[in-house]
């Protein structure tokens, strides 16, 4: 409860400070994104949002995901070939490990990526703003199944 209020006011504050209107839909979407510990795609978020506001539309979801992305509130990933997944921007940088069989996603810390970043930035004269490391393979369960 206290937690939920904190979240709500957090969202409100962020939207206000960037002179975006605080609408019921935006608050709901941000709340759902924060609550979720998975990486949601637009439709999954839409389905969840509908449970609490059956009039919300998919375009609103898309429009707001873009807004959140622009405001730096969520990150967009391209795990699946077909569509995007979103997660609230994490405090600590982390990378992803993806099982190609069951789709499980594991997050892992990658402190070395900071050093990488500096080295590569210097070497190619780039101002680097993001590092994305993705490893793919089979998780232990799928590996044992010998698919």
């Amino acid at each position: 409860m206290a937690d939920s209020n904190k979240q709500k006011s957090g969202a409100k504050q962020i939207l206000n400070s960037s002179s975006q209107r605080v609408t019921a839909q935006r608050t709901l979407l941000l709340e759902l994104l924060r609550q979720s510990d998975e990486h949601l795609d637009a439709d999954e978020l839409y389905q969840q949002a509908r449970k609490r506001n059956f009039r919300i539309s998919l375009s609103t979801v898309y429009r707001n995901l873009q807004l959140f992305k622009k405001l730096g509130l969520v990150e967009e990933h391209h795990f699946a070939e077909e569509h995007h997944h979103y997660e609230v921007k994490p405090e600590a940088e982390h990378q992803h490990l993806l099982c190609l069989n069951c789709g499980k996603i594991v997050e892992f810390a990658c402190p070395l990526s900071q050093k990488f970043r500096e080295d590569i930035g210097k070497q190619y004269d780039f101002h680097i703003t993001g590092v994305d490391v993705r490893m793919t393979g089979l998780c232990s369960t799928c590996c044992k199944k010998k698919i």
Copy 2:
């Protein structure tokens, strides 16, 4: 000329050995992919192919890109949000550095990614088959422009 023949026979050999038919379209597409030093998307490849075979269709391009991917001849990347890019599978592993402003892509070697791979694989009990490191930012030119 000798080079072109080598390429053609290479393609032919690969297609033959996997009991795929060697068609003019496949030979052309593989040749274009190998010649290109950029990362092409399906439509760019289609446009280039049309210059040499005006009857080729976009579905053939898509179908064959999938085939090439399955045969391990090309790699698929998701640089842009909207659609996929392809490059012939490189001899040496390399990673990508992407300018968010002009779209320039720089390839860089990343020998550390092998060590990463082992560490993370052990830690999370994954059988890792691929490592993809992507850094994003601004290239020196775009950085100077102060966009």
